[in-house]
Amino acid sequence: MDPIVVLTIFTLSIFVGFEVVSKVSTTLHTPLMSGANAIHGIILFGAIMVADKSTTTLATSLSVAAIVLATINMVGGFVVTDRMLEMFKGKGGKK
């Protein structure tokens, strides 16, 4: 990829990241952190990519380990965030 294109994507993503969370209330700090934590579990996508082209034992075992860790991060992250938010249910209308 052209480094300038990468830099552009990177810079714009920073601004989007700043913007979307700048008005979060204290109540949601923990679930938001946990949700963002689940999102970086997307490294699973990269782990599968490298596992798919691994041919040596070393590369295969490292990438399989990466897949296991990334899956725990992603799936566990979304589930635990949902559990936190479940407790806010039925409150939406009252606020």
């Binding site: 700090h29 923990t30 970086h40 490294i43 599968i48």
Partner: protein, 462 residues
Amino acid sequence: MNSTLYSLLGLAVAVSFIMALKGLSAPKTARRGNLIGAVGATVATVMVFFAPSKEAHHNTALIIGAIAFGVIVGVPAARKVQMTQMPQLVALFNGVGGGAAALVSIVEYLHAEGSSVGVAAKIATVFTVVVGSISFSGSVITFLKLQEIMTTRPVVFPGGRFVIAATLAGTLGTAVYLVGHYEKTTALLVLGFLSLAFGILFVLPVGGADVPIVISLLNAFTGLTVAAGGYVLDSTLLIVAGTLVGASGTILTRLMAAAMGRSLFGTLFGAFTAKPQAATGAAEARPVKSASPDDVAILLNYAQRVVIVPGFGLAVAQAQHTVRELADLLAAKGVDVAYGIHPVAGRMPGHMNVLLAEANVPYEQLVEMDEVNPTFPQTDVVLVVGANDVVNPAAKTTPGCPIYGMPILDVAQAGNVIFLKRSMRPGFAGIENELLYDAKTSLLFGDAKESLTKVVNALKNL
């Protein structure tokens, strides 16, 4: 899969993550936002199997098996964890994500032919290995601290600063060497180990109260690691998703630090400035006033206004339902009841809100610190349930103590203060609380849930 379609799907996933973060920042849309993110992540995981590629696929069965294994480990952990242990679980999930990102870059580096790796890709690889490893080992230490497997106090040893500085210098030196040379084995291994060591040394001197900030910071680190991994793998999706988490995580860390009255810099570089503290003098046996559940019930019964200040002890005792019962009972008797919520009460910002929401406490009874503080002079009784540091006046009066400068709930302004405590042990930050010895303070010792149940029963019999 057609490569245009593949790229468009990747774009859709990136958008779903933006919508997820946006949704998560407002109470009404939070749960839906999380769901949108989960759907996006699932789409990404499936589509990668159909990546447009001329090369043969390898290890497909192994990959699916590894995902299944990860699900089997991750889901039950997330479902079964107690509310009190949520923070350390999030820390662990974050750590394994950082570890995964470091492994991914290492594998990609192993695949590459020496001459074909550009300088930018080498920098990105080295960055991923360093920051991913720091995130991994640092998160493990935060887990051990929060689980109280190791001490929650800052761990500082003589010469610690120099050890940390040397580790950092070694890490940076190896990193620079690897950018200049292509070497698959030794140097990469050394880099990984040095980074892991630095992660441990970096978190050890952080005091208990600052741990949530560090978790949030490491979360942002992992995001950036994933973004750098995306550059190594030539994946726009990873770059966007990782950067989003890195940026939003940084903002979140700053917001948390602000809520605790900490400078981010101070927390971050505490490792370099912390000095070994002389052990504080043996705790002298000073008289405290203890109260029986009946005394507390009477005091509450004749109060006009009661503020309940919940803390980690409430979470430990799982007393959120009992405290609600007490509040309802008082409200039925015409007492004005509110909960004074300190932003960092518990082990994570917003911990108390989540806990009390579970017990269906009406949202409008939860009053944030800035709003509740001016009302304390008109408050007859403050019931502190398992909180300590967030009401400790030392934050105002004792310069140099670990929580100095943190905004606190001014409960000393109220007519009476009742502490529900298990023992005289100081709070998470490990500082003595002068308020316990104050004339208007009484203490009801015991498990918060049992004490509250006794008070509720006494109140019913009045």
